[in-house]
């Protein structure tokens, strides 16, 4: 069991599609593909930056990461961490998604996302804990 965390910058405007709409599509495809590979994880979208966590068998993570790296809808892919993990943190999600929006009710989510984006590089463990809280938050 391994866990991969990486960040990247969305490169979607080029296609003319709205960022959020395209991201929804990515999440939908990812969820089906990840189920096949027995991967779980989460995708965050913070002001045009993706933060993704993938967990599962190392080979399967490598396969998924390879298709992700062949995708031109994002750029500047940076691996934050690839480490053995004791268990799944996102066992219930083939691919959870949290994105920042302009919804006033989502203010706290936006703030958390910002914080995660800023700290993920230097303190991945702490950021991961925060992501976990965010995903387990009751969504309405």
């Amino acid at each position: 069991m391994h866990r991969l965390i990486y960040t990247s910058v969305a490169d979607i405007e080029r296609d003319g599609a709205s960022l959020h709409e395209e991201t929804r599509k990515i999440v939908a495809i990812s969820a089906t593909k990840n189920k096949e590979r027995e991967l779980t994880g989460v995708l965050l979208l913070v002001n045009g930056t993706f933060i993704q966590v993938l967990e599962g068998k190392r080979e399967n993570i490598e396969d998924a990461f390879e298709t992700i790296c062949c995708d031109l809808r994002h750029k500047q892919i940076k691996v934050i961490e690839l480490e053995p993990a004791k268990g799944r943190l996102f066992a219930n999600w083939d691919m959870a998604f949290v994105g920042s929006t302009n919804e006033p009710t989502q203010l706290h989510v936006n703030r958390d996302l910002q914080h995660i984006a800023v700290t993920i590089d230097a303190r991945p463990a702490q950021a991961l804990r925060q992501i976990l809280q965010l995903v387990h938050l009751p969504h309405d």
Binding site: L4, Y6, E62, C70, L72, K78
Partner: protein
């Protein structure tokens, strides 16, 4: 004609028709197999001949047997099973031998012996078959017809062989058709002529005719079995043909493709580019673009993680590059970590830039392979036809120049070719040529920069610094030519020359003075280094403790194991090791503690900022303290002012070096300086 009347009056026409179909189909297949057997070589020729023999023999025998069943002698007929079986075996083995002989290179053996064997075995099969044909009646044989039958069989078989073996041009199938017709003619002629030689008068009182219904069923069964054999033989031939075409295609693929990535190889790339240039010349296509791609940092990956992992990297990189391509683009691997793309349709530079940018982006993405995180990068050089040339040579050369420029611009970028790039390369090329000559003629000089004791101000030794005495450009600093020498592989010979010279010079100095010589990271990896040092010391008769070798942190990073081994060996010789430019790298002192280092030289960039910059002040103090506690000596480099000297001496540095004390000077001057100092010392 007796033969024709025999066919017409004494035979069941349905069975004759069946026999005819059997014969034609069988011979068509046999001729195909026969032709195949002629191109087979070695052991497989025997196999193909046998397969042809089984097919032809079975078909011929079935033809004969069915036709015989169609013969209506108006008398009861039975068959001797043993002789019947023997007749099949004769047909199969006899023709097999004939087919095998027909493959001989000797024309006489091939045509006459081969053909005759086939003809004779058909005849033998027929007559043995006739002996198995037991008819209750009075049998008579006409010798003349027998002879005629055998003669026709042999003649037509020889003719068939000649047709098959003839080297006349023309479509293959026509020859096959001719051969089949002749073959069929031989079999038919033999059969009916031989039947004409045969006559039966029923015994009186016995008038039961042959059971034609049972014969008809038997004939059908034999036809089915024989056709099965024929089709089996034919399908092996077809399968073989398909396999051969497939393997020919595969061979072509291997010749034109790179085995590792499945991309076009250099050969195929050349062909495609040449074709593209021609098409353009004839106006069939518009502007097109050539991109040359080199991976950055691939070699260290290959060296440290192994070739099989390196191969996986190349494979994945190739897949990623393909994602950026348009349908008309050709991607090739030219070898090693070099790739090339021919973009068949180029609209404008912005499109080229977009694609090149995507390629650079793709190549800069991390790879994860077997748990290893691998960070590569790629540089791209671009030449567009017709702007940057329209011939193969111009385009490849200019794309290479642009690639070179991209690498010089710091890698992980792309560059479009510009004519000015050629000039820069020319300058560099001439410098390369000069350097080559300089190495041969030893156009180098060693200068020395003296070092002093921080407390007493007395000389302790000097650092040897190489200068290139360029015939036109004067004295050149190592900063200009050492990187070039490293790249061209001259650093080893320049380095050993400097080492030898420095040892010789130092041996003439007063015995308490040391000499420091710089080692490039490449020298440190050279297995011969220890021996070179030993020889230099021995030749100059210089005690090892008077030689100090200066290395940089970068030599240690990445190849610590080998570096450690070499440094330990040098230390055993008695040579001391100092760490140059300290503070500019990433390493912490505690990490460096693992290495046998005697001295740390604090980089001039810190010294130049003291005593005013508090950060530099505290860094120097910390380095000096920690270094001293680890048993190392500390040298402050780049001392230019008295303030710096005072601070460094007070801050814990043991030795000083810099313009304030002396610039680097030639051997003669430094020798004088040292000699004077020794003379003055007792006086002082």
């Amino acid at each position: 004609m007796k033969v024709i009347s025999c066919v017409l009056t004494q035979h069941n026409m349905w069975l004759v028709l069946l026999a005819a179909i059997m014969c034609i189909v069988g011979m068509l297949a046999s001729v195909q197999l026969w032709q195949r057997s002629l191109v087979a070589i070695g052991r497989s020729r025997v196999d193909w001949c046998f397969l042809t023999g089984v097919t032809a023999g079975s078909a011929i025998w079935a033809t004969h047997f069915i036709a015989m069943l169609g013969y209506e002698p108006h008398a009861p007929v039975t068959f001797d099973p043993q002789l019947t079986i023997i007749s099949i075996i004769i047909a199969i083995l006899g023709t097999t031998i004939g087919f095998w002989l027909s493959g001989s290179r000797n024309r006489f053996i091939a045509h006459v012996a081969g053909g005759a064997t086939i003809g004779l075995s058909i005849a033998a099969m027929h007559f043995v078959g006739m002996f198995a044909y037991r008819v209750d009646g009075f049998v008579m044989w006409d010798d003349l017809y027998i002879a005629a039958a055998i003669a026709m069989s042999v003649t037509l078989s020889v003719a068939t062989t000649a047709i098959i073996k003839s080297e006349q041009s023309g479509p293959r199938y026509r020859r096959a058709a001719q051969a089949t017709a002749t073959f069929v003619a031989g079999i038919v002629a033999l059969h009916f002529t031989a039947m004409a030689a045969f006559s039966v008068s029923p015994l009186r009182g016995v008038s039961i005719a042959a059971d034609s219904e049972a014969f008809g069923a038997m004939a059908m069964a034999i036809a089915v079995v024989a056709l099965l054999i024929v089709f089996t033989g034919m399908s092996s031939h077809l399968i073989d043909g398909r396999a051969r075409i497939a393997s020919q295609n595969e061979l072509l693929h291997i010749a034109t493709h790179d085995e590792l990535t499945g991309l076009a190889n250099r050969r195929q790339f050349k062909e495609i580019l040449r074709e593209q240039c021609e098409e353009f010349e004839f106006g069939h296509t518009g502007p097109f673009t050539l991109m040359m791609i080199d991976l950055d940092r691939f070699k260290p990956v290959n060296d440290t993680l192994g070739h099989s992992l390196g191969d996986l990297v190349l494979h994945k990189v190739a897949r990623r590059l393909q994602k950026v391509l348009d349908p008309n683009d050709h991607l090739a691997r030219l070898g090693g970590d070099e790739f090339a793309i021919i973009c068949a349709e180029t609209r404008d530079t912005s499109q080229v830039r977009l694609k090149a940018g995507q390629i650079v982006e793709m190549l800069s993405r991390p790879l994860i392979i077997q748990g290893h995180l691998i960070e590569l990068g790629g540089s791209v050089g671009i030449a567009s036809a017709p702007k940057d040339g329209a011939s193969f040579d111009d385009l490849t050369q200019n794309a290479d120049i642009a690639l070179y420029a991209a690498k010089a611009a710091g890698r992980s970028t792309f560059q479009l070719y510009q004519p000015s790039m050629s000039e820069e390369i020319l300058v560099r090329r001439s410098l390369e040529a000069d350097l080559r000559r300089a190495v041969n003629r030893e156009e180098f000089e060693v200068y020395y920069q003296p070092q002093t004791d921080a407390k007493t101000g007395a000389f302790t030794g000097a650092e040897a610094l190489v200068r290139w005495n360029h015939p036109e450009r004067g004295l050149l600093s190592p900063v200009i030519f050492i990187p070039l020498a490293e790249e061209l592989g001259f650093i080893g010979s320049i380095g050993s020359w400097v080492l030898k010279k420095a040892c010789m010079d130092a041996a003439t100095w007063p015995a308490h003075l040391t000499v420091a010589v710089n080692l490039s990271p490449i020298q440190l990896l050279d297995r011969r280094l220890v021996r070179i040092v030993k020889n230099a010391l021995a030749e100059a008769n210089l005690p090892a403790h008077r030689l100090e070798l200066e290395i940089t942190e970068t030599s240690l990073i990445g190849n610590d194991v080998q570096a450690l081994a070499v440094l330990n060996e040098l230390r055993e010789l008695g040579v001391s090791i100092s760490l140059d430019d300290f503070g500019t790298g990433y390493s912490s002192l505690s990490y460096l503690h693992r290495f046998p280092i005697n001295r740390i030289k604090i980089d001039r960039s810190f010294i130049s900022r003291v005593p005013n910059d508090p950060d530099s002040v505290s860094i120097i103090r910390a380095i000096a303290q920690l270094g001293t506690s680890l048993g190392m000596k500390i040298t402050a480099e780049g001392i230019e002012t008295d303030e710096q000297r005072v601070f460094s001496a007070g801050g814990g540095c043991d030795h000083l070096q810099g313009y304030l004390i002396s610039r680097p000077i030639p051997y003669k001057q430094v020798a004088c300086l040292f000699a004077e100092a020794v003379l003055q010392k007792p006086a002082a």
